[in-house]
């Protein structure tokens, strides 16, 4: 469904992505893990057109989308929940959700679906988005993305800064929306949770994919365990 081939993205003279190749299948959950600064957010920002790749190609359902503007990519059915949620702080919860459906007219079904997933949003409709708690903002950010009725959702560290009970709730929601047929590309530093949710995963290190495969394999891979899952290997120094 989504295919990146040799994607290179730069910030000035810094090469943040040095040739990324990855795929997300229709209806699948794929996770992208890696340390802080590895280039995970840049990968998502490049897919959604905020950054334009200087090399390689991105295809969505066979059509080239690299080079398109963010609103054109959104119109093709890709919704992006960026790192830090980026709720419109002075718009009400209702207006935030309406903006999620900017490209279409939201039906009452769309509203009901979001309220079914996140009932708390219904109680907060008139409140400015910026006054919500971190967990509520994350739900609003996901709800806003769902209002677009996307076929692929890009989630950037949805668990960041949330209490453990909320983290498991958010991950349950992700599984639930995926069951409705939505493909998910999930970026996480919480590698263990991400790997247990996804079917496939990629490991990113300083702009390069250094490992990939079925999530279960990566979960049991000693190198991945040591670097990302906090499991210590005995009798070995740190490897680069």
């Amino acid at each position: 469904m989504l295919d990146l081939a040799g994607v290179v993205t730069t910030y000035g003279s810094i090469e943040a992505l040095k040739g990324i190749t990855l795929s997300v299948p229709e209806g699948g959950i794929v996770s992208l893990i890696g340390a802080n600064g590895a280039g995970k957010s840049t990968t998502l920002m490049t897919v959604s057109g905020v950054q334009t790749p200087v090399g390689g190609e991105i295809r969505f359902r066979g059509e080239r989308i690299s080079g398109l503007k963010p609103h054109e990519i959104a119109a093709r059915g890709i919704a992006h929940v960026p790192e830090g949620r980026r709720i419109f702080p002075k718009l009400s919860v209702r207006e935030n959700l309406e903006m999620g459906a900017f490209l279409r007219s939201a039906s009452s079904d769309d509203w009901e679906r979001v309220f079914a997933l996140f009932p708390v949003l219904k109680e907060r409709l008139g409140q400015p988005g910026g006054t919500l708690s971190g967990g509520e903002q994350q739900m609003l950010a996901i709800g806003r993305a769902l209002m677009a009725r996307p076929s692929l959702i890009l989630l950037d560290e949805p668990s960041l800064g949330l209490a453990p009970i909320l983290v498991s709730k958010i991950f349950r929601m992700i599984r639930e929306i995926n069951r409705e047929g939505l493909a998910v590309l999930l970026v996480e530093q919480n590698a263990k949770a991400a790997l247990s949710l996804s079917s496939r995963a990629y490991v990113l290190e300083t702009g390069r994919i250094v490992a990939s495969g079925p999530s279960a394999d990566l979960l049991s891979d000693p190198a991945v365990q040591e670097a990302y899952l906090g499991v210590k290997r005995s009798g070995e120094g740190t490897s680069a």
Partner: protein, 302 residues
């Protein structure tokens, strides 16, 4: 005397407010002080005069007030909006990723260019605005409000009410607020950010154009340099209200008009223009965020 000055001040202030809205909306959405905005206002006044000339050629005398008012508003609005959108497209959009000073210098350049362009094409002398309102008015409490003043106040209030509804109640208005709060996120939800910015320039220019026609009719004379002082005053009004805040620009305009009228009457009419700039300096020193602006610069701008 006091009541009379308040009436005069409100009239002037409502026109400042119309122009100030363009500064504040553009600042809210791209954080640029559009120094060419005063020229857009001036061009509106010229477009009004030219349209009335054409109307006369067609056999409609300017004394047919409803027709000439409507035609001059329409012509001014369309022409100024076209100029505003073109200036954004050619002089600001290519510099959107550049350091903040670059578009600012570009704006000053556009302002100088437009002034000279109008001077060369329309002449350096004053033009008479060929529209006169009946001179009667309403007298009360030792003061008099003319039909023209009533008209200026009514048009300004109507436009400001319409703008407020547009920004707060329509999809495009909400998209404008969203874009001013987080431009990247606005693109991610599918808003065509370039189009929203163009619409912002069009609306700001249209309001300035209407102000240009109103002032042209009020003072009766127009020349190529009227955008300079009017622009500076409207900018002051926008800063006074809190640059980026729409209700702030309305309040700032009205307050500045009142201050000027009262200052001219009770302190010195020769220093009338200086009051505006004293206000600007005082606000920048004591309350840089303005009366209705938020203290944090990253907050809402529209």
């Amino acid at each position: 005397m006091l009541v009379q000055q308040i009436i005069n001040g409100l009239t002037l202030g409502s026109v400042y407010a119309l122009i100030a809205l363009g500064y504040t909306m553009v600042y809210g959405i791209i954080q640029l002080i559009n120094f060419a905005h005063g020229e857009i206002y001036m061009i509106g006044a010229y477009a009004g005069i030219i349209s009335l000339g054409l109307l006369t050629l067609l056999g409609v005398p300017p004394s047919l007030l409803p027709v000439s008012i409507l035609v001059s508003f329409l012509a001014a609005g369309v022409v100024s909006a076209a100029y505003g959108v073109t200036v954004e497209r050619l002089a600001y959009r290519p510099l959107r990723q550049a350091p903040r000073l670059s578009p600012l210098i570009s704006a000053v350049g556009v302002s100088i260019f437009l002034q000279n362009f109008v001077m060369l094409s329309q002449g350096a002398g004053d033009l008479v605005f060929p529209l006169t309102f009946p001179s009667e008015g309403i007298s009360f409490l030792d003061a008099r409000i003319t039909t023209l003043q009533i008209f200026i106040l009514a048009v300004s209030v109507l436009l400001m009410a319409a703008l407020t509804l547009f920004i707060n109640r329509t999809r495009m208005g909400t998209a404008m607020r969203a874009t001013s709060q987080d431009r990247v996120m606005a693109g991610l939800v599918g808003i065509n950010v370039d189009r929203v910015i163009a619409v912002t320039f069009a609306i700001g220019s249209l309001l300035a154009a209407v102000a240009g026609v109103l002032v042209g009719v009020y003072y009766g004379l127009v020349n190529f340099s009227i955008g300079y002082v009017a622009g500076l005053k409207a900018f002051t009004a926008a800063v006074l209200g809190g640059i980026g805040s729409v209700p702030g620009a309305m309040l700032g305009g009205v307050l500045l008009g009142l201050l000027e009228a009262l200052g001219a009457a009770y302190i010195s009419s020769e220093y009338k223009d200086a009051f505006a700039f004293l206000v600007l300096i005082a606000v920048l020193i004591f309350r840089p965020q303005g009366l209705m602006g938020s203290a944090d610069a990253s907050g809402e701008k529209v």
